[in-house]
Symmetry: C2
Subunit: 228 residues, 2 copies
């Protein structure tokens, strides 16, 4: 699909028929991901605390995107991206344990603090946002991905391709393969398996470094993995 | 110099006349860095616990590389790369506080643990190896860089270019600029400022993820920052 595909890259499953939910789909990151996935032909449902806000955001996006409350979004989706703010992460997921049972959950939350010197990593008690999700959702297949995408680029309709890699973490090979395949659907993106959830913290908090890069170079930085 | 140079990238100083020391220069990472820097025309001194081992490794490398004990290496160099194993990090640096005073120190140590499931991040009490170095060397200008380089690629003489970015962290702009310029000397490499030392932990421990990438894809993975 892209010039970055390597001959050694294992074949990934077809995810084109799966419904993707985006919890926190009215935020910048969630809306941007919903837009890119819907534009790539994926069926997308965005969730928000109130159905009305989600419906309004969905109508704005078009592309067949539907909006509903977080519980409905979780229930109606095969793969559920968690794009809520870090401070609502635990509460949102705890409330959705039942709706998310059996689903593939993709945590893309970056626990960060901010002060005058910029961004810095917060260390969740569980080790990372993804590990917190796994602890709160024992009946779900929790993965972590989509941490390093610029919400500005995601939402810019004039941009056709976003050339970046998506690091995908998780314990369950079938689940990480599906999430990699989902990332591959977006032009320019490539899903790369990058380890187990115990190594999610550094992937999540690398966003603090990308924020420093963005400040210094006036960029919307992302990352690529070389030699893959 | 490379196609990755962006017009917005600030001009960097000339470091071609500076002497670069590599503490732990007989290890794979240190020897690889010494080789690449010497090959790029830099004056390089490698240090080891015993002068004899350093001299032997230097003779093997050729390219004008000298070898001596760690104290001599620190004393004779303008920029000192710390490439010692994590378990010798604190002791080595504590013993060199005087020799390293006033020097630019570049910590490239990745505190990792290993078990059956692969690599995982260790969290130094100070936050990161680089912050430990800064705490132990209050009279030095401590930066962090060169974490994500494959020792295999560095040491492979048949490889002319190593296409990867070098994330450079530190508090002192002049020091990080010099370290970026040093990275830029190696064909294919590019030094990118990536934040303060308080954000070094995730950069150091991202190596655990690259090890997972290497296992899955049989690669020698590195990273590139996009949009810079």
């Amino acid at each position: 699909m892209t010039t970055h595909e390597s001959v050694t890259k294992p074949a990934l499953p077809d995810v084109s028929g799966l419904v993707v939910g985006v919890l926190g789909g009215t935020g910048d990151q969630g809306r941007g991901l919903a837009f890119r996935l819907a534009k790539a032909g994926q069926q997308v449902v965005i969730g928000s605390r109130t159905a009305e806000r989600a419906e309004a955001a969905a109508a704005e996006l078009g592309l067949g995107v539907r909006g509903t409350d977080n519980a409905g979004c979780a229930r109606d989706s095969d793969i559920v991206i968690v794009a809520v703010p870090w401070d609502g992460h635990a509460d949102t997921l705890s409330a959705l344990r039942e709706e998310l049972a059996g689903k593939i959950v993709v945590d893309c939350v970056n626990p960060l603090g901010f002060d005058k010197q910029g961004a810095y990593a917060l260390k969740p008690e569980e080790g990372s946002a993804a590990q917190q999700a796994a602890a709160l959702l024992p009946d779900s297949r929790v993965t972590a991905a989509f941490h390093h995408l610029s919400a500005v680029l995601l939402q810019d309709e004039s941009i056709e391709r976003i050339d970046t890699d998506v690091l995908v973490l998780g314990e369950d090979r079938e689940a990480t393969d599906l999430v990699q395949a989902l990332a591959d659907r977006i032009p320019g993106m490539r899903g790369i398996f990058a380890g187990r959830l115990r190594n999610a913290h550094q992937v999540e908090s690398l966003v603090a470094n990308l924020i420093s890069v963005n400040r210094r170079y006036k960029a919307h930085a992302g990352i690529r993995i070389t030699d893959v």
